[in-house]
């Protein structure tokens, strides 16, 4: 769980586009429907009926195990999707990437360190569904943070730019006031 600082507020929160989880789940849906349809079809067919009657126990056991596997895999995918998140606060950008069940990668960039932001929306589907990749160039140790499949990426870029500008101009005016010294 990410702990926010006292003066920190979340400006924007983005999960990966729903297309990601939908694409990953397609195979699971096919894998789910196929044996169920086969089982129902077999019950309607005479020769298959005797086979089903003979092996009913094994079929039920196998079907139950197969559906349990698919169900568990779906929840692993969903958890990965749900825990993959991009947070933009008034102080920093936090990109959390969940890779499988046992790998979690958290990249954090101070808004003041942002040097350049590039948005890539490549392909028909990303253009139609409005999602893409954001490249954030930084002055920090991690030179570039790349966030894939972000919905409405231009909106994210605008928010980061606006608050980066606010933060740097506030820092600049504080610095300039400090250099002027006390007024006579």
């Amino acid at each position: 769980m990410i702990q926010l600082h006292d003066n920190e507020t979340v400006l924007l929160k983005r999960r990966r586009h729903w297309y990601v989880i939908a694409g990953q789940s397609t195979g699971l849906v096919v894998g789910f429907l196929t044996p169920v349809f086969l089982f129902i079809a077999a019950l309607a067919h005479e020769t298959a009926q005797s086979f089903v009657q003979e092996f009913l126990g094994v079929i039920l056991l196998g079907l139950g195990a197969w559906l349990l596997v698919l169900w568990t895999v779906f929840f692993v995918l969903w958890t990965n999707y749900y825990l993959d998140i991009l947070l933009v606060t008034n102080l920093r950008i936090i990109d959390i990437e969940q890779h499988g069940l046992f790998a979690r990668d958290i990249a954090e960039v101070s808004l003041g360190n942002v040097q350049d932001i590039k948005v890539e929306v490549l392909g028909v589907l990303p253009s139609l569904l409005n999602f893409g990749t954001i490249h954030i160039q930084t002055a920090g140790e991690a030179k570039e943070v790349v966030v894939h499949n972000v919905p409405k990426p231009h909106e994210v870029r605008k928010t980061i730019s606006r608050h980066h500008h606010k933060k740097t101009s506030a820092e600049f005016s504080t610095h300039a006031r400090g250099q002027q010294g006390p007024r006579p």
């Binding site: 769980m1 126990g57 094994v58 056991l61 349990l68 169900w71 958890t79």
Partner: protein, 73 residues
Amino acid sequence: MLNIEEAFIETIFFILAGIVLLAFSIVSVVLYHHWTAYGVGKKQVKRLRTVYFGVSAVWIALMAAGTLTILLS
């Protein structure tokens, strides 16, 4: 009398079902840990738990029905 080939297939299925149940238990513990530790809200964890374990129970019941059918035949 029980056919040897049939008995072999059933044994294989019992072993596979055991492996699936073991894997399911381990993955469930890990998933539950992720939901509670990494910021899925309390209400949502409750809803997730109900859906995930509720539907899983249906598949496990199907497996149990299959096992009973094999054992009673």
